[in-house]
């Protein structure tokens, strides 16, 4: 028990282990805070960079795609759909599990990994 108390006292003088929020306290108005930041009156904590091998949202280069359907064959979540008319694919981000198997398999590098992770949206496509 004393060991825990000692450890807790030690922790009091250490920096928090968690990553910092952009602002220390929740602002009354986010817009006003952003305005202040743009004028240089307030400062936001910078975002933590994503790790080197991070697998984020997948970028699709429509022009490079040759419609070989290999990505559809390996995708575990059916996040890639084939469009018969154009002979191209459609990438559905809301189904994606970000395993990057399609990126590994693409013969023409039409699919690439991005660092984007803020993908919450009101629309499905």
């Amino acid at each position: 028990m004393f060991e825990m108390a000692k450890e807790l006292l030690r922790q009091l003088f250490k920096k928090p282990a968690t990553n910092e929020f952009p602002a220390k306290h929740a602002p009354k108005s986010v817009l006003k805070l952003l305005e202040k930041v743009s004028k240089g009156k307030a400062r936001l904590n910078p975002p933590i960079p994503v790790p080197e091998k991070f697998r984020g949202k997948i970028d699709y280069d429509r022009n490079k795609c040759i419609g070989c359907k290999l990505c559809i064959k390996v995708c575990p979540a059916a996040a890639v759909v084939f469009q018969e008319k154009e002979r191209k694919i459609k990438y559905i981000c809301s189904r994606c599990t970000f395993c990057a198997q399609c990126v590994d398999v693409c013969p023409v590098n039409a699919l690439t990994l991005s660092n984007e992770f803020l993908i919450a949206d009101y629309k499905r496509d």
Binding site: E3, M4, P51, K53, F54, R55, K73, D104
Partner: protein
Amino acid sequence: MRLSRDKNSFKISVGPVHPALKEPIQLNCLIAGEKIKSVDFELSQAHRGIEWIATRRNPIQILYLAERICGICNICHTISFCTAVEKIAGIEVPARAQYVRTMGAELERIHSHLLWAGVAAHELGFDSAMHYTWKAREKVLDVIELLSGNRITKGIPTIGGVRRDFEEKNHAKIIEAVEYYRSVFGKLKAIFLDDPVIKSRTKDIGVLTKKDALTLCAVGPTARASGIARDVRQDEPYAAYPDFGLKAITPDQLTGEIKGDVFDRIVVRLLEVAQSADILEFCVKNMPGGKIVYEEKPIKLLAQLKGVHGEATGRLEAPRGEVFHYVKLVGEESPYSWKVKPPTYSNLLPWIPMLEGEQVADIPIIAASIDPCMSCCNRAVVAENNENVLNHDMLHRLSVEKTENIRGQLA
């Protein structure tokens, strides 16, 4: 087993959704006063039909399905599935891939055991200890990020190797993490094992004797805490474990005695954290060079797997115990059959001797002491044809009868 009630006893149900449980399971306890007289539980409250889905997918797609059987021990399920498929197809995994797999599995063990230690502390009411342990866990998650880019779900093993490598530039960070866990181990030992309150709350509580553990087929830390020195990494070494020469951990290595209580299960898990740190250091120092995957092109691999027939099993020591996968390929794109036996499945029956004779207030810590993972072990749903259960047809018939009854009265 059905619980039989008498005059002096009372039945309480804990679960399927209950604050003391993290996952759905129903514990029915028959109590007399504060003492638990007998226990029964109902499984399969979160069935997902994973094995059925797998029979409609190709092996590359199943890798990610297998990963989602369990959130915490995800890499173990994938490696286990890969091992089974590799055995059928006669694929040899390169040495470097074996080492990366071992490191992934050991990182996961550290992370799982520390997570469990935090949960155990929380169940006992030591929330500071929980946050301290979980803070210590962050370090291992950072190392997992170096390998896979993600914190928990890795997506790293593939059939015939691994998809990403632990490059030499990252080795210093792994060694740093190993040193950190060696220093943290001393502190965790002092917090968990020398504390008089934790000692009195866990010693001689939830005892599982060696005989019970053997007859009920307990696996993993639960079995080792009862003195069964059984570990797949020791008995049937795979990946890089033959090089390391691992010895199963039993609590007497630290305390000098084996009781099989909750305290012993904490001892085993903490010792395994230190052991995993040793294995990590060994792997970093002896990492062989060369390829990391047998066949780089997944499509070629799929074409090869389409032509093979046979059945095989994959065994692996997950943080909670032995994982067992059975795969049967019949020369088609999808496997004919895939059967998964996760460790919690074997560790549930030992709950009964553990809980009997204990107090109601000890249910959370005893239930948590086997590190249960309920949705892992939901392989089937049993719909009982019980008279007490009204299905749709019966309910409809009752309704029609009532209408006719009323019609008869009004006429």
